[in-house]
Every structure is written in structure tokens, then in C-alpha cells.
């Protein structure tokens, strides 16, 4: 019947379906809008738990809570009443509130701030109306991408705008500790989740029952960030399964007929936390969540942040998803419902689904002109060893690259004159890029030399000031390169592999595939690619590479590189920092992990090696310093069997499988060595535009 399209290339989108929801606000009374009569559409019309008190009651009276209390009271010799009290306290900690008056006040404030700092808030209205038409009798899960704290607020804001019930959103307890903020978030339907709780049976039961009650009996969408945390690199993170499996359990055990999961992408022209993230990636930890910190951050609201784009992907019916994977539900007919637990097969389905959600988020992302500018500048740096570029040249290159990346499936928000768009983008990002009066473009020094860093709180290696000086702005730039990589990664892998072919330069599809698989296996954590999509992704990448003349089919039916040299170079360059980081990592591991070593030590050592490599010219891009990237590398090496991961309590240790590691290292060496590419870039030559010292 309805064969739901769960995988596959994104259907053609364009910016016409988007509307700027700030536009209206600029021409009419904010107060009138915010105080309007508000009758939101609900996920399930006739659901029972229509308010937070009902939810709380339903959880307290649930069979599962009763049973776990009985069990724990016997086990621990504690009176059930005591445990009930504990449950009530936990529920108070977890529970969301729904104060529409607070939502309205915050909405008013947010409207003012958005109007001041952002040029547009673009929302895909076609997608919203499609979503609304499918709401009414099935629980809905919102799964937005997570790039900024602003995601929380924007989701509620957009829902308020379109009269969708404010989603109940899962937030980390660290927010709760913030004075006032915790309460405000709670009033805007946030509920709180402890970071680590797998060991605490009572809390686990209470929390999962809470989530399941929201799903089964609630009237609001349940929202959670599938990546678990804000992505510091602006690349998607490998999805977490815990929350999703909790939320899908009622469906898998037959308590509800279906669940709709809506992948949502929020793309930013410029991210509020851009600088903080660069420091975090280098190992300088984020300040603790605090209200004073937030107020300080509000100073950042004097700046301009350009456009924000929100798109709601096609809702994935979990039922249809399982059906398309030939998966039969019905294994939970025995025993009481509260004792059911998900099978390994079900967990692996959830894993695929999670990846599917993330991929869908990537497909519905919007690239702004600055993302393209970042790719071009970065590429210029890696190819020509200099950052400097004339604006006219930059505009030309952006226009060219835009046509390429659109062919690769991306949606780019450039309409009309490219130069105007590029100028606007540079203006928004003037804290990072300077447009000189002579039309030259330069990277700014954003790191304040001598900034005191609390070494004891460092997560990585204590990098030299000189390194930081160059690395911080380049990582900020990389932050804007990264969102494009979801469209480039697969073609880039194939291009890289084909750069390293034997002299004949020809290869059959079937011989190319395993080589691609090898590279992909290494990068699958970095770019969130599920193993089961290998073949499909490969064929799709070959298809587009053929379209852009990178790969040609010879008369003998073999594949060879075409004549689009410029794009080949660019594609190789975008992956290069990752391979360089992984190479340094595997060399480090070979050196230090003869016996089990803790993760932190491995990462520190790897960073140190990269820093040395940057100095000596062996490593050409500081993105290799990224702790996120190195962690992905660790996961990849674990999955290919080059190292083993050992858990000892809270601590994670790694030990090398030297034989396998050697093979991987050699492979990485060949990938890093850029055959035939003239590399003039040297770290030491990078000149930064010194302006007023930027503050951290």
C-alpha cells in the first residue's frame, strides 16, 4: 500500500517552499501576535494525558513503577513508601510544565531578539502543512539536528508560530541547575534527563515510563536531539539510540499502532557558539551552563547572525520503516507488557532508523553562501598555500562550486546576484573574515594570545599559543566547511581512491567498490554512514561523479578519472585533514597503545603529534587537531579491528592490535600522500589579519 520512501535521494527541493516568518513580525504588532488566541494542533486528538499533571499521575500509577518499587523495596530492604517518595522527587526533577503565558512572554522576547540579530527565519511551510495534515491520531516524535542552544528556543517558537502543540523536549539536567533558566525551560515543556543513568534502575524506570507516557497518552510531539549533544563541528554526530529505543518501545510492544518520526534540520548562517566550539574542539572546555554565562552570551546578541533555515522532513512512519525492512513485530505477546524488553534485532532496526533520521536531517539542510565561501577559501589555502583571495575571484569560484554541490543534492540559498550574496555573507562573518578595501579577503586572528587557560580543565594537549592563534580561526572556518561534507563525502572518497590507482588509471566498478568500502569504513563515524547503505551510496556517488566529469567510463567499460581536475583537487582536499588526523592517531596508537591506555591520554598524544606535524609541514591543516575528529577516528579504528576498546568502570581504555594497525596506517599513508598534487601550503606561512584583539 503506502510504500513510504525511507531511504533514497532527497526529492528536488528549492527555496520557494520556504517563508520568512519574521517578515510578518516586522510589519505588525508583536504583542498582538503573541497574545493571539492559540488553539494548537495536537498529535493525538483523543489522548488521555492532556496536561503535565495527568502525565505525572499516569506514571505514578503505572504497573511498571509499582512493580519496580516492589522489587527494589525487597532487594534493598527499604519501605515502599520511601521509594514512592523518591519516585515523586524524581518526577518533580524530570517533569515538564506547560505554561502558555510563559511561552508567550518568551516568545515576545525571542521575537525581539530574532528581529534584531537575524535577517530571516526561513521555514519550509509546505513541509509544515504536510506535517500538520498528518497529525491527529498518531504519536509524533520531533528529531531536530542540534547545532546550537538556539535549537531549543527555535523549535518552540516555530511550533507556536504554526499553532502546533509546544513539543515536550528532552533536555539535559545541567540546564536545570541554571537559575531561572531551568524553570523557564520547564514552563516551555522541557523535561529533564540525567546524563548517566543506566545503572540507576529506579531512575531509569521512572524516566522511561515518563517518556512512554508522553508518547502513548500525550497530546504534544516529543522532541529529542538524536545526536545527544550539540555538534561542535557542525557535522552530524553518530546518533544515540537510548532515547529513541525508549520512545519506540510502546510501538514495538504493540501498545500503540504507529509512531511518526519527523527529522528536522535547523541550519544557521552563523552559529552563536562558533568560537566556543572551536576552542572546545581543541580541548579547551566549555564553561559550565550558568545564567550569568548566558547573560554574557547575550552580549553576543549585538552581532548579526544572518539567516536561519528550518525544514521538517517527511515524517517516517516507524511501521512503514519496519515493513520496508521486512521486519515483523509480534515477538512481545508473552508476559506482561512492563516486563518486555527489546530484542537485538529490534535494537539493530532502531540503529538503522537513527542513521536514517540523521541522513534525512542532512538531506534537508540548507547551505548558505558562507558555507560555500568557506569551502573555497579553505580549498585555496590547501591548494595554493595562501588564504588571500580577491573578492571577484571568490565570487566566481562560489558560483562554480554552487552548481557542483547542487548537482550533489544540496540546497543552496543563493538567489540573484552571487556577488551580493557573498558580500552579505562576508558581512555577517566579519568577525572571522575581513574584506579589505582593495577587494582582498583575509582570515582574522580571533585568538587572543596569552589568554589564560585553566590547564587542569583541558581535555586535550596543552597547545602552543602560536598553534592556537592559527588553529582557532581555521577551525571556525572548518565549522562552515563541514555541513557541505555530507554531500561531498561519498564522491570525495571515490575520487581520492581513484587518485591512487595504478598507472593505467582504470578500474572496474567491482574492483573499485571494495576500495571505496575500505575508505568508507574509516570515515563512516565521521560522516554518519550506515553500513547497509554502502552499495546504494556508492552507485549514487558514481552517478553524480559521472555527471560532473570526474569519472568516465572507458570503451572497455572500466572507470577512469575524467578531466575535471579542479573539482578533483577540491574533493581530495576536503577529506585530507581527516586522513591526516587519523594517520597521526594511528601512529600515536602504535607508539603508546602496546598496552591499554586511557582515552584521554591517547587523544592528548595524538593532538601533540598533529601539532608537531603542523610545525614540520607533515600535516597541512589544523582540523586534524579536532578532538571530535580524533574520537571518530578511535571509533573507526575500533570498528576495523585495529584497536580494542576496554571499559573499566567509567574509564575507557584502548589497546592496539599492532598487526592490523600497521595495515591501516599504511593505507592512511597512501591516502594522505597526495599524488601529483603540488602542495605549496605550509602552516608557518599563514598570515592572519590582525585587527582589534577579539575576546574569548
Amino acid at each position: 500500500m503506502s510504500t513510504h520512501k525511507v531511504t533514497g535521494t532527497s526529492s528536488f527541493r528549492n527555496m520557494n517552499s520556504f517563508s520568512d516568518i519574521l517578515e510578518e513580525r516586522r510589519h505588525s504588532s508583536d504583542v498582538a501576535w503573541i497574545t493571539r488566541e492559540w488553539n494548537p494542533i495536537r498529535t493525538v486528538r483523543d489522548a488521555q494525558a492532556t496536561n503535565p499533571i495527568d502525565v505525572r499521575k499516569a506514571v505514578l500509577n503505572s504497573m511498571r513503577i509499582k512493580e519496580v518499587i516492589k522489587e527494589l523495596s525487597q532487594e534493598r530492604g527499604i519501605a515502599p513508601e520511601v521509594l514512592y517518595k523518591e519516585v515523586e522527587e524524581q518526577l518533580t526533577e524530570i517533569g515538564h510544565n506547560r505554561q502558555i503565558s510563559i511561552v508567550r512572554w518568551i516568545g515576545l522576547f525571542v521575537t525581539k531578539v530574532l528581529k534584531k540579530t537575524c535577517s530571516n527565519l526561513m521555514v519550509n511551510e509546505e513541509a509544515i502543512s504536510k506535517l500538520k495534515s498528518s497529525m491527529g491520531n498518531t504519536p509524533v516524535i520531533f528529531a531536530p539536528s542540534h547545532r546550537s542552544y538556539a535549537d531549543f528556543i527555535l523549535m518552540a517558537y516555530i511550533c507556536f508560530h504554526y499553532s502546533i502543540e509546544i513539543p515536550c523536549v528532552a533536555a539535559g539536567v545541567d540546564f536545570m541547575a541554571m537559575w531561572l533558566m531551568g524553570t523557564l525551560l520547564r514552563d516551555c515543556c522541557a523535561f529533564f534527563m540525567r546524563r548517566q543513568f543506566s545503572g540507576d534502575k529506579l531512575y531509569y524506570t521512572v524516566f522511561s515510563e515518563y517518556v512512554q507516557t508522553l508518547i502513548c497518552q500525550g497530546t504534544a510531539p516529543v522532541e529529542f536531539f538524536i545526536e545527544g549533544t550539540r555538534s561542535r563541528s557542525a557535522k552530524s554526530l553518530v546518533p544515540k539510540f537510548g532515547f529513541l529505543s525508549m520512545a519506540l518501545e510502546p510501538f514495538l510492544t504493540g501498545q500503540i499502532p504507529d509512531v511518526l518520526v519527523v527529522p528536522i534540520n535547523i541550519s544557521y548562517d552563523r552559529i552563536l557558539e562558533e568560537k566556543l566550539f572551536s576552542y572546545e574542539l581543541l580541548g579547551v572546555p566549555k564553561p559550565r551552563e550558568s545564567t550569568s554565562g548566558l547573560i554574557k552570551a547575550l552580549n553576543a546578541l549585538d552581532e548579526k547572525y544572518g539567516k536561519i533555515y528550518a525544514d521538517f522532513g517527511e515524517a517516517i512512519s516507524v511501521r512503514d520503516f519496519l515493513k520496508s525492512h521486512m521486519f515483523q513485530r509480534s515477538s512481545h505477546s508473552m508476559g506482561p507488557i512492563h516486563l518486555q524488553s527489546l530484542s537485538d534485532q529490534e535494537m539493530s532496526m532502531i540503529r538503522i532508523l537513527s542513521h536514517q533520521i540523521v541522513r534525512s536531517q542532512q538531506q534537508i539542510s540548507v547551505l548558505s553562501p558562507f558555507h560555500l565561501v568557506a569551502v573555497i577559501l579553505n580549498n585555496n589555502l590547501l591548494t595554493n598555500g595562501t588564504f588571500d583571495m580577491q573578492l571577484s575571484e571568490l565570487v566566481k569560484e562560489v558560483a562554480w562550486f554552487r552548481s557542483v554541490i547542487e548537482m550533489f543534492g544540496a540546497t543552496v540559498d543563493i538567489s540573484g546576484d552571487v556577488e551580493i550574496c557573498v558580500r552579505e555573507a562576508l558581512h555577517v562573518h566579519k568577525s572571522l573574515i575581513t574584506l579589505l578595501p582593495d577587494g582582498g579577503v583575509q582570515l582574522k586572528a580571533v585568538h587572543t594570545p596569552g589568554t589564560k587557560v585553566d590547564v587542569s580543565r583541558l581535555k586535550g594537549h596543552a597547545l602552543l599559543d602560536d598553534t592556537m592563534n592559527r588553529a582557532v580561526p581555521l577551525l571556525m572556518l572548518q565549522h562552515y566547511v563541514n555541513p557541505t561534507l555530507h554531500f561531498l563525502a561519498n564522491p570525495a572518497m571515490i575520487t581520492t581512491v581513484m587518485q591512487h590507482l595504478e598507472p593505467s588509471g582504470e578500474i572496474s566498478r567491482d574492483n573499485l567498490f571494495p576500495r571505496y568500502q575500505l575508505v568508507r569504513g574509516m570515515l563512516s563515524h565521521e560522516f554518519v554512514m550506515h553500513k547497509t547503505w554502502e552499495e546504494k551510496d556508492f552507485d549514487e556517488a558514481l552517478r553524480v561523479l559521472d555527471l560532473v566529469n570526474i569519472v568516465e567510463t572507458t570503451s572497455a567499460g572500466l572507470l577512469s578519472l575524467g578531466n575535471h581536475r579542479k573539482l578533483q583537487v577540491l574533493l581530495c582536499n576536503v577529506l585530507h585533514p581527516f586522513f591526516a588526523g587519523y594517520l597521526a592517531l594511528s601512529q600515536t596508537l602504535a607508539q603508546v597503545c602496546g598496552e591499554a591506555r586511557p582515552e584521554r591520554l591517547v587523544l592528548c598524544e595524538a593532538q601533540r603529534r598533529v601539532e608537531m606535524g603542523l610545525k614540520s609541514g607533515e600535516v597541512s591543516h589544523p582540523a586534524a587537531l579536532s578532538l571530535d575528529g580524533l574520537s571518530c577516528g578511535l571509533q573507526a579504528l575500533v570498528s576495523v579491528g585495529a584497536i580494542h576498546k576496554i571499559r573499566r568502570g567509567e574509564e575507557v581504555l584502548y589497546v592496539a592490535n599492532l598487526k592490523e594497525l600497521k595495515v591501516v596506517t599504511e593505507h592512511l599513508e597512501t591516502l594522505v600522500a597526495l599524488h601529483g598534487m603540488d602542495h605549496k601550503w605550509s602552516w608557518q606561512q599563514l598570515e592572519l589579519h590582525q585587527s582589534l584583539p577579539a575576546k574569548l
Partner: protein, 639 residues
């Protein structure tokens, strides 16, 4: 005992004991009337204390019953002017115009009373496929003096049950395969001989009882190349003996429900077994499909009623040699017979429990604000094991539908109706679009009933249930029998409909109902079906769960030309079944598996279960004579 015989029984006894001139059917081979051989002078006919029962259903079923629809020929929904009405006098709503029902059918199912699809006429003798049967085999039957027929119509009548598929084909198409020969054995020994001959000639035997199967159980497997013989048990309908001391009766398997009840009640007894089909279904069919009766709370389901059974298989007769209340003697082989669905042998006789007629019977009803409250109440009643003979809960859809099946009330009736409605909706605050009703049947001593009622209504009050009177209860049960006639009407107006059922643990009852309705609703939406009806009722309650019965029908006018409503329905029902299983329900509570649900059988009983069944089959029926193909499809080559 003789004195208890009523006139009709005597008549039948005389007719049967008189030696009729055996008609030589060979002398009139191509005659279209029944080519029957009646042979009476056999040892099996007379035994001491045997009660011959005059069946309401004649041997030529079409004299009384529809050939292409449910039930009696004189009872059906019809259109008079623009209004629907029910014909005949058999049921309380007979000869009454039904304006509310008409509105309901128009609004809910989108029917147009002026556009009617007439069914095809009764096929002509030349329309039937030629009977594929060896003359030698027929001669053997003749020699055994077993009446039989190869007339097309006789074969057609026994080629189907009462599934939507069957009704559809009868109205608009033709069965690909019908039996080649019909036999009417008159006693156990006849059956033994028939099975022997069938085994000898490698002829397939499909037992046929009341013809009310809704699982495709009596349909002929299309690919079956061998001769198919339909073994009609209707002429084996005697009560062989009644044991007053132990309250058991031994009956032949072909006796149908209403005949059995009438005959027993004449003697002050009842079986208490009342499946909704009991007007037409037979004792043997009940045992073979594990039937369930409405009043099982008092009397038990068929497996509890059954004391012992005679079962004729190609390798011998399986029967217990004692008539004891229970025994610890290895596995109970009654359970090989129960649910065997005609795949292992034929049931010829069954000894069942009987009960003295209850002195008093009373109906009752309770309205609930919503279905959840109703289910919770039924669960509590079951927890306290306080079920009356029957307790059923209809959902809101069915409640509303039930309200339409009545004639327009008179002037006063309107006022009273209005007042009742006021009380329920305004004073009690019930929502007309969520409320639902439970119907009750109490049986026993008057005082006990009163006491029982009080307890039930007290429990109901805890779930916001309000007693709604005897009338509503009685109507509910009456409607059960009438509802079965609606499908034939529906088919005339582009509506296909069918019922299906399941059993489910208590903690999943509500979610199962919701899930199935949700699923059907979503699928109808994707198919662009605007008018459909999906409704359920909880019809039985047990210690550990309930039985849920669904009605589903839709108007297929909006479907594209290319899609065939029957296969769309079957696909939707299949999805509903998948949803039922995923929601923790069973494949069937009492309809059985048949061919319709065979694909899920293994999933319900485990692969080893299927192997165990197959091993039994191999032992009892090595040549696969009973090849109707129910439960498990067994290719003949594997045996």
C-alpha cells in the same frame, strides 16, 4: 423416554424405519434432481433410546436457505421506496421499516438506495463443471447404499462457507473448484465405509456440517486433481441417548444447534451452547473448529462441554472408552479432534454435557461513558469471577449502529427516547460519540439473578457505568442474529464487509482495539476510501483475557476501476490480522484457522508444533484423504 418423544420425532422415526424402495440411480444417470440412494435397512439405524430429530433444515437446503447469502430465504434486508426494512417474521425486527438504519447506511457507508447491484441468477445445470468421478467409485457407494449426488447445485451448495469471498463469488463469479460428489451418510458406520472407499479410490473427503464456516475451511483446494467428495453430515442428526443421571447426551455430529436445543428443551435440558451461528451450525462443526458459545460463562465452551467423541480417520476410529468427568491418562486426545478442522478425519458422534433448563432468564445492559471504562469494568467482573451467562461490550460505533436498527417510535416513544437521552447526555454528562453499552444475560434462580445483578451494577458504578434496562440488553442479543444478514444487503450497494475476531490478554485488550481501528483507518485513508465502518465488541471474558470481535466494511465506489474490492478487502483484513498479532492477540478465538489464516499458523504454534501436527496427520491420514488444506498446507507429495 418414549413418552417424551414428540410428534415430529415419531414421524421422522417412521419415515426412516420404513424400508423405502431403493431407487436405482443408475437408471436415471443424468437427472438433475438429487441422484440419491436412500438405504435404510441397516443395523446402525436403530439403537435403544435413539431420538430422531426432525431438522428445520431440509436435506435440500435451498428449500429453506438462500443459495447465495446468509440464512433463511424469507429473511433479509430489502428496500421499500427509499427506506430499508427487514423481511419475514422470524426475527423481532421483521416487517418493520428502518428509517434510522437507512440514514445510517447512507451517511456512514455512503450507499445510494437507488443504485443496486443485483446478484447473478442461480446457475443453470450446464454452468457447473463436470463432476470428476470414477463410475466404479459411484458404484461402490451405491452398493453400500449410501445416498449421494453429483448434481451441480448440490455440489455448489457444499463448495463454500460464509466468508466474504464466498458470498462475493456466489453473487458475481464462479468457484474454480467445487466438490465432485456429495454423500449423505446416516450414521457412524456409513461414514466408516465412505472413508474406507475414499481411501481405496484415493478420493478426497471434505466434511460438511452447517456450512457456516468463515475460514474457507470447506472450500475445495483449487489445485486438487483427485475426486473431491463432500461428506454432508446433516442426515446424522439423532440424539442417540440421554443420560439423565450424569447429565450427558450423545448426539450424532450433524445435528444443528437449534434442533439440538429444541429437542433437549422439550425434555427440560439445554446444552447452553449458543454460538451466533447456532441456528445453522452443527455439533460436529463446533468440535472441529473449537467453537465458543455466547453463554460460555455458565456452560463452558465446546472443549469444556465435550465429554467424548467418535472420530473416523482413514486409519481407524479414535474414541475414548469411558465416560468419566476427567482422567489422568496421558494427553487428552479429544484435543486432537477439537480444532482439527476436517484435516484428520470426520466427527460422527459426540457426547456432551447437558444442563437442566434455568428457571429464569433476564437481560440487562449498562452504559459507560467510553470504551475504556467498559473494558475496565468487564475486567473487574472477570477478576471477581462474577460474569453472568453472557457479558458483552459494544464500542461506540456499534452502540450507535444498534440504535438505528429499530422502527420509528410513536409519539410517546419519541418523548421517552428524548428523556432518556437527556438523562444520559445532559445529566450524566456522557458524550454520544464516546459512550458504549454492555449487554448482559443472567440465568438461574430469580433471587440469585437479582443478587447477581446488584453486584454487577455495583462494580459498574465504580467505572461510571449506569444500568440501562432489560430492553437494551435483549435488543443487543437479538441484533447479533440480524447483523449477519446485513452483509448481503451491503453487497448490493457497493459495500464489502466481514467480521473477524481474536482473543487477547486483558492488559492488551484496549490497545489492541485501538491499534486495529487505527490501522484500518490509516489504510482506508491511503486508499481513498471515504466510507467505512470499523467497530468492535468484547464478546467473552476470561480469567486471563477477552475475546474481541471486529466488524469492518467499506464502500468501494471510490476505488479505482482496476482494483477489485474483494482483494482490497482481503489485503486490509490481512493487515488488521498482522496488527492484531503485533498487539498481542491470537490468530483466532473461535472462527478457526481454515485456509484464510493458515499462513500465520506456524507463528502461533511454533515450527515444532507444526511438525507435531504433521506427524499426527501422517499417522491418521497417510494418503491425505482429508485434503481440505486447513491449518497447514500439506503438498500431497510430502505424505
Amino acid at each position: 423416554m418414549k413418552s417424551a418423544d414428540d410428534g415430529t420425532e415419531k414421524m421422522k422415526a417412521t419415515a426412516c424405519s420404513a424400508v423405502e424402495q431403493p431407487r436405482d440411480s443408475a437408471s436415471e444417470p443424468q437427472q438433475q434432481q438429487q441422484q440419491a440412494v436412500c438405504s435404510i435397512d441397516r443395523s446402525c439405524v436403530q439403537r435403544k433410546g435413539v431420538k430422531n430429530v426432525q431438522s428445520v433444515i431440509p436435506r435440500n437446503r435451498l428449500e429453506l436457505l438462500k443459495w447465495n447469502g446468509w440464512g433463511y430465504k424469507d429473511s433479509m434486508f430489502d428496500v421499500k421506496g427509499d427506506i430499508l426494512y427487514f423481511t419475514g417474521k422470524r426475527y423481532p425486527i421483521g416487517n418493520q421499516t428502518l428509517p434510522y438504519f437507512t440514514d445510517w447506511a447512507i451517511n456512514k457507508l455512503g450507499i445510494d438506495v437507488n443504485r443496486r447491484n443485483r446478484a447473478q441468477p442461480l446457475p443453470k445445470p450446464s454452468d457447473f463443471p463436470k463432476a470428476k468421478v470414477e463410475t466404479a467409485f459411484l458404484s461402490e457407494l451405491k452398493a453400500l447404499r449410501i445416498s449421494h449426488s453429483i448434481a451441480g447445485l448440490d455440489r455448489l451448495v457444499r463448495a463454500h462457507g460464509q466468508t466474504l469471498h464466498d458470498a462475493f463469488i456466489l453473487r458475481e463469479g464462479a468457484f474454480e473448484r467445487i466438490p465432485d460428489v456429495v454423500v449423505w451418510p446416516e450414521c457412524h458406520e456409513d461414514v466408516v465405509r465412505i472413508v474406507e472407499v475414499a481411501q481405496k479410490y484415493n478420493v478426497v473427503v471434505i466434511p460438511f456440517g452447517g456450512g457456516t464456516s468463515v475460514s474457507g475451511a470447506v472450500s475445495c483446494p483449487i489445485k486438487e486433481q483427485r475426486t473431491i467428495l463432500s461428506l454432508d453430515t446433516s442426515q446424522m442428526n439423532r440424539i442417540l441417548w440421554i443420560d439423565h443421571g450424569n447429565l450427558v447426551a450423545c448426539c450424532e455430529s450433524g445435528i444443528i444447534g437449534q434442533d439440538l436445543e429444541r429437542a433437549l428443551q422439550a425434555q427440560g435440558y439445554t446444552t447452553g451452547h449458543e454460538p451466533d451461528s447456532y441456528e445453522f451450525s452443527s455439533l460436529g462443526g463446533w468440535v472441529a473448529t473449537r467453537a465458543s458459545g455466547m453463554k460460555k460463562n455458565t456452560y463452558g465452551n465446546i472443549e469444556e462441554l465435550l465429554v467424548s467423541v467418535r472420530f473416523v480417520t482413514p486409519t481407524g476410529v479414535l474414541e475414548k472408552k469411558t465416560q468419566v468427568p476427567r482422567m489422568s491418562c496421558g494427553p487428552d486426545f479429544n484435543h486432537i479432534v477439537l480444532g482439527s478442522e476436517g484435516t484428520l478425519g470426520v466427527i460422527t458422534e459426540a457426547t456432551i454435557k447437558i444442563r437442566p433448563l434455568p428457571p429464569s432468564k433476564k437481560y440487562g445492559s449498562i452504559v459507560f461513558p467510553d470504551f475504556e471504562s467498559g473494558v475496565k469494568c468487564l475486567r473487574e467482573v472477570a477478576r471477581q469471577r462474577l460474569q453472568p451467562s453472557s457479558i458483552r461490550l459494544m464500542d461506540n460505533e456499534q452502540f450507535k449502529f444498534g440504535q438505528t436498527l429499530r422502527p420509528p417510535p410513536g409519539y410517546l416513544g419519541l418523548i421517552i427516547d428524548g428523556l432518556k437521552r437527556m438523562y444520559i447526555t445532559k445529566i450524566k454528562g456522557f458524550n454520544v460519540d464516546t459512550m458504549c453499552v454492555a449487554t448482559l444475560v443472567f440465568e438461574g434462580q430469580k433471587k440469585d439473578i437479582e443478587h447477581h445483578e446488584k453486584k454487577i451494577y455495583a462494580i459498574a458504578a465504580n467505572f461510571n457505568g449506569i444500568p440501562a434496562g432489560e430492553k437494551n440488553g435483549e435488543r443487543g442479543y437479538m441484533l447479533t442474529f440480524v447483523i449477519a444478514y446485513i452483509r448481503d444487503l451491503a453487497l448490493e450497494f457497493n459495500v464489502v464487509a466481514e467480521s473477524f475476531e481474536t482473543s487477547v490478554p486483558w492488559d492488551r485488550t484496549i490497545t489492541l482495539c485501538k491499534n486495529v481501528k487505527h490501522r484500518i483507518g490509516e489504510e482506508c485513508k491511503t486508499l481513498g476510501i471515504d466510507h467505512y465502518f470499523i467497530s468492535c465488541r468484547v464478546t467473552q471474558t476470561y480469567d486471563v483475557g477477552s475475546c474481541v470481535y471486529f466488524y469492518f466494511g467499506f464502500n468501494w465506489t471510490s476505488l479505482p476501476e482496476t482494483s477489485d474490492p474483494l482483494s482490497v478487502y482481503e489485503r486490509l483484513e490481512e493487515m488488521a490480522r498482522d496488527e492484531i498479532l503485533a498487539s498481542g492477540g491470537s490468530l483466532s478465538h473461535h472462527h478457526g484457522v481454515g485456509k484464510l489464516r493458515a499462513k500465520w499458523f506456524c507463528g502461533q504454534v511454533s515450527p515444532l508444533g507444526v511438525q507435531l501436527y504433521s506427524a499426527t496427520k501422517k499417522q491418521l491420514d497417510p494418503k491425505n484423504i482429508f485434503a481440505c488444506g486447513n491449518l497447514v498446507h500439506i503438498p500431497s507429495s510430502s505424505l
